[in-house]
């Protein structure tokens, strides 16, 4: 069994490498469609192998499965891959997403044919997947660090792939700067760990006991900043809404779906497994950051009309929800409530998994819209459901899933998060209870705003009248794209209906991290309430719910048929309020839809508007221009002042320190050497 899993993982890795080599081979070939098809097919096969191996790994008794270990001549650098339950769970999420995205890419990438070098794109794409695989499975900190850097750089290249657009270049620069600030934090964190343990080995759990309290706290903060930036935690999120829209949509799906989750993996791997959570405040910090990210993320998303930027802000929101679960689990672990910790950790991990599915799907959907209509602006869409019924239906499913609406998977993980907050309210800990209560409110606000936002996204782009000519002439996208999205939608529904299947998979993962078994609290079996969930006596059964809904709808149809007779329908135009004809400009726009919320939360958004009219008469202008802006608080009040100071500082040092005179440089070198010698003497 172990040998089989071992080989399956190897097959997967070498499959991806083969894909990379083939796409390199197609670099200089004119007709690239076949190459694209082959590479994506290889990715599909490789991800099936990895997914099967991951599920197998979670159910085997072996704690860690060592895949390979290559000692290099350079000290510390060992290419070592080993997989434990936590890694396997994240690899599973990665492979499912890669599976669907690769099927989708067969159709999607074809529109680059002749315009772009698809061979180059596929090479970067496959290498990006491999780098993420290595991040999730590397067994020592140095190799982790190398893979992490590779992942960041490869994603940077993919962000700036359409490099002629200036916005992409700017997004890429911001991304690479933020990423490297984060990586610097990680590097210092690893060095602190090495200083005390003299080992870069990650497989030894709870090694952190050897590290003194103070250093451990510092390492925690460094990891939080480092991984938090990658995850897009507010206020470190600023790169995310620029970088995700810039990349091609299949890459955005991977970046938003799984790349930012590697940061969640890192937080669990380095903080929970390695350092070991002993302080309650670690959990509280994460919980508060989670609430902040969740509420602000969805609030900013509501104001966006660029479909991919909107989705990027929702990633910030969902990372917030994951962090709420993670925060509660850290609090519970620090207080030795293993069962609550396990519950909250399951909630966080399940939401991570779910978000991979529906956010990946939504970005693929955004790509499909872009493919058909050539715009990312919601205000130019409308009426697409009739032109693209399949894509529309998928986006509807994903929208319901991300808004935590039954019977989709988003609801299950949010339900577990609520339950863990509920369970974490214990007598005699007033301060913690207060945080839990606020978290409930934050989560509820987030859910409601997310629903509002996705009504906007779905309603404005797919319903009503088309708002532009391109939207009116849109056509359904190729089948492969729809199949890729469809599989994701099916898995979303499957987890929503049968949550126990995935929770059974999660139990060994959480168990290996020291949490109590959640699955033992859940029950199922009876026909009607098939797959119910029971935690802190609340029961839900999504299957029974769907049966009830379906039953009631059928019953209603029957009764109406009996009472009202045959259904007679008359087609007629929408009431146009007495004007001559209804047109698309009379409809509510996305701006109008979110305006009430913008006004209610004006403290946050600081909206401004500018109206310029042309023409002689004030009352009958020839044309009106209406522009509205929303302030981005963190950029205006946190980043820009810092950047300004830094620029001023560099200006000054340019003239005073970096004078260009070789004499003064020699003095600097002399002073530096002297200082180092002094330090060595004293230390």
């Amino acid at each position: 069994m172990e040998l089989l899993l071992h080989h399956l993982y190897l097959v997967s890795i070498f499959g991806y490498l083969l894909g990379a080599v083939i796409s390199l081979g197609y670099l200089f070939v004119q007709k690239q469609n076949t190459g694209n098809m082959i590479v994506n097919a290889i990715c599909v096969v490789a991800s099936v192998a990895a997914a099967a191996a991951s599920i197998g790994k979670i159910f085997t008794e072996v704690e860690t499965l060592s895949i390979f270990s290559l000692q290099s001549a350079i000290p510390f650098i060992t290419l070592e891959i080993s997989i434990d339950n936590l890694s396997a769970f994240f690899v599973l999420a990665l492979s499912i997403l890669v599976f669907c995205v690769s099927i989708y890419s067969i159709g999607y990438i074809s529109h680059y044919n002749g315009k772009r070098n698809i061979g180059l794109f596929n090479f970067l794409y496959v290498m990006f997947i491999i780098s993420m695989f290595f991040v999730l499975t590397s067994a020592n900190a140095v190799f982790f660090y190398i893979s992490w850097e590779a992942m960041s750089l490869l994603s940077y290249f993919l962000v700036v792939f359409e490099s002629e657009k200036e916005e992409n270049q700017q997004a890429g620069t911001l991304y690479i700067v933020m990423t490297h600030l984060a990586t610097a934090c990680l590097l210092i964190g690893f060095m602190i760990i090495y200083h005390y343990t003299h080992s870069f080995d990650l497989t030894i759990a709870q090694n952190g006991a050897a590290i003194p309290e103070m250093a451990r706290n510092i390492a925690f903060i460094l990891f939080l900043v480092g991984f938090g930036t990658k995850a897009g935690v507010i206020p470190l999120h600023i790169w995310l809404p620029y970088a995700h829209p810039a990349a091609p949509s299949n890459v955005s799906a991977l970046m938003s779906g799984i790349m930012i989750k590697t940061a969640i993996y890192g937080l669990i791997r380095f903080v929970l497994c390695y350092l070991g959570v002993q302080n309650t405040w670690w959990g509280i910090v994460i919980l508060v950051l989670g609430m902040l990210s969740a509420v602000l993320g969805v609030a900013y998303a509501l104001m966006e009309h660029n479909i991919k930027r909107l989705l990027a802000f929702h990633s910030v929101e969902n990372i917030g929800i994951i962090l709420i679960g993670l925060g509660v689990s850290y609090i519970a672990f620090a207080q030795n409530h293993l069962l609550i910790g396990g519950l909250a950790l399951s909630a966080a991990l399940l939401h991570t998994f779910n978000h991979t599915l529906f956010k990946g799907g939504l970005f693929l959907g955004a790509g499909a819209i872009q493919y058909a209509v050539h715009t990312k602006d919601i205000e130019k869409l409308g009426g697409l459901l009739k032109k693209m019924p399949v894509t529309g239906f998928m986006i509807l499913c994903f929208s319901l899933a991300i808004s935590a609406i039954v019977p989709f998977n988003g609801f299950i993980s949010e339900w577990l998060t609520y339950q863990s907050l509920f369970a974490n309210i214990l007598p005699g800990q007033f301060g913690l209870n207060f945080f839990s209560a606020v978290a409930v409110a934050a989560l509820a606000l987030t859910g409601a705003l997310a629903a509002a936002c996705f009504v906007k996204l779905f309603g404005i782009s797919f319903l009503g009248l088309p708002r532009s000519e391109q939207a009116a002439n849109a056509q359904e996208v190729p089948k492969t794209m729809n199949i890729g999205m469809g599989i994701l939608a099916l898995i979303c529904l499957g987890i929503g209906l049968f949550p126990l299947t995935i929770l059974k998979l999660l139990d060994p993962v959480v168990g290996s991290l020291g949490g109590g078994s959640v699955f033992s609290q859940l029950q199922g079996g009876f026909m009607l309430v098939y797959y119910p969930l029971t935690v802190s006596p609340g029961i839900i059964s999504p299957v029974a719910l769907v049966l009830a809904l379906a039953g009631i709808i059928l019953f209603t149809l029957l009764v109406i048929r009996i009472v009202g007779g045959k259904y007679i329908e008359q087609k007629y135009g929408t009431w146009d309020c007495g004007f001559e004809a209804l047109n698309a400009r009379m409809q509510y726009s996305a701006t109008g839809f979110s305006k009430p919320i913008k006004i209610v939360f004006r403290i946050l958004f600081r909206p401004t508007r500018k109206i310029t009219t042309e023409g002689d008469s004030f009352y009958y202008p020839e044309s009106i221009e209406y522009a509205t802006t929303v302030a981005s608080i963190f950029e205006d009040y946190l980043y820009h002042p810092v950047i300004k100071r830094l620029q001023k500082f560099s200006q000054r040092t340019k003239y005073k320190i970096q004078t260009g005179s070789i004499h003064s440089y020699l003095i600097y070198i002399f002073a530096a050497v002297l200082l180092l010698m002094l330090y060595n003497r004293l230390a």
Binding site: A444, P532, L549, G573
Partner: protein
């Protein structure tokens, strides 16, 4: 207290089936009545005679006979939404027991799911409003999005607090627990969250001062604007769904804060009947209270509603804080 764990077929399963049937019949029959009662009380306070209490039944019957006019612009969402709205309201009703004298063993949901089911209905209603391309639909949808997102935190904190008082998120469990607390509204925690829930009822059922259910004026309408394009059986379903949802919230209030089953010392068929009668009495009282609130307030302008929602949220939050300090009856 009976165990709520599923898994045993037998007497309890029979009980559950009986529960589902009784629950659905009571809700379906009583829901249109509440609206009629509210209208009647309002008319009487204004020295008018008003429409008959049963008017809504006649309206529904008539609407079912009529041809449905469907906009050319709309898609399948428009036609599916009424069924989904109605079915979600009725499913939500299954989660909120009208009487705790029969224990619903197999009811597959708790209050978190209740909120989510209602959100499903609302999602489709808001989407369908955008589907016809009419300005009114968009306006109603946008306003509904604002109101519902402000009210939802307060619903969940309210239900969370009463859940904490009985250590469960399952509504039947919570309702069984409050039976033994005497008069809950005398307890400061319950009082706070009770008031919060009262505001929630007003907002969620489109009543004055949040929304005006009786006019079609673009300045005031929210719910009516969303269903403006509907006609025939679609309209009937939407109206019926709204009535059922209103009764669900009223049931939530009266059974959580004015429990009555402790007054009936015996079990069995008679107890169920008596319990249902007492429940209906409470619903009538609640309808009168809502009518009086409507008569004595004026419609708020849209941007005053956040204040009301904030008041409701603060009450609910104070309730949960008081719970942390004082504890409930059962801690």
């Amino acid at each position: 207290m009976k165990d709520c764990t599923p898994g045993r077929i037998g007497n309890e399963a029979m009980n559950s089936i009986a529960y589902i049937i009784i629950q659905l019949i009571v809700i379906l029959l009583a829901a249109p009545l509440v609206g009629g009662l509210i209208k009647k009380v309002k008319a009487l306070t204004q020295k008018r005679k008003g429409a008959p209490v049963l008017q809504m039944y006649f309206d529904l019957y008539k609407l079912l006979q009529k041809t449905s006019v469907v906009s050319e612009v709309s898609s399948w969402i428009y036609k599916a939404a009424p069924y989904i709205v109605f079915a979600t309201a009725l499913t939500a009703a299954l989660l909120v027991p009208v009487s705790t004298k029969i224990v619903p063993v197999l009811i597959p949901g708790d209050f978190i799911m209740l909120v989510s089911i209602l959100a499903l209905g609302r999602f489709f209603m808001m989407a369908a409003a955008l589907d016809t391309g009419s300005t009114f639909g968009g306006m109603g949808s946008s306003r509904e999005a604002m109101i519902s997102s402000l009210i939802e935190p307060s619903i969940l904190v309210t239900l969370f607090t009463v859940g904490l008082l009985s250590g469960s998120t399952s509504l039947p469990r919570i309702m069984q627990t409050v039976q033994v607390t005497g008069f809950p509204l005398a307890h400061p925690v319950y009082m706070m969250v009770g008031l919060a829930l009262l505001i929630i009822i007003i907002a969620e059922t489109s009543r004055i001062p949040v929304d005006d259910p009786s006019t079609h004026l673009e300045l005031t309408m929210v719910h009516e604007a969303m269903i403006l394009e509907y006609s025939g059986r679609h309209l009937a379903l939407l109206e019926y769904g709204a009535a059922v949802k209103q009764l669900v919230f009223i049931t939530l209030f009266v059974n959580l804060f004015i429990p009555h089953d402790q007054l009936i010392p015996f079990m069995g068929f008679g107890a169920v009947i008596l319990s249902l009668l007492l429940y209906l009495l409470k619903v009538v009282l609640m309808a009168v209270v809502i009518a009086l609130i409507e008569v004595n307030t004026v419609k708020f302008k849209l941007f005053s509603i956040p204040n009301l929602a904030a008041l409701s949220f603060i009450l609910a939050f104070l309730g949960i804080l008081q719970f942390f300090i004082l504890g409930g009856y059962h801690v």
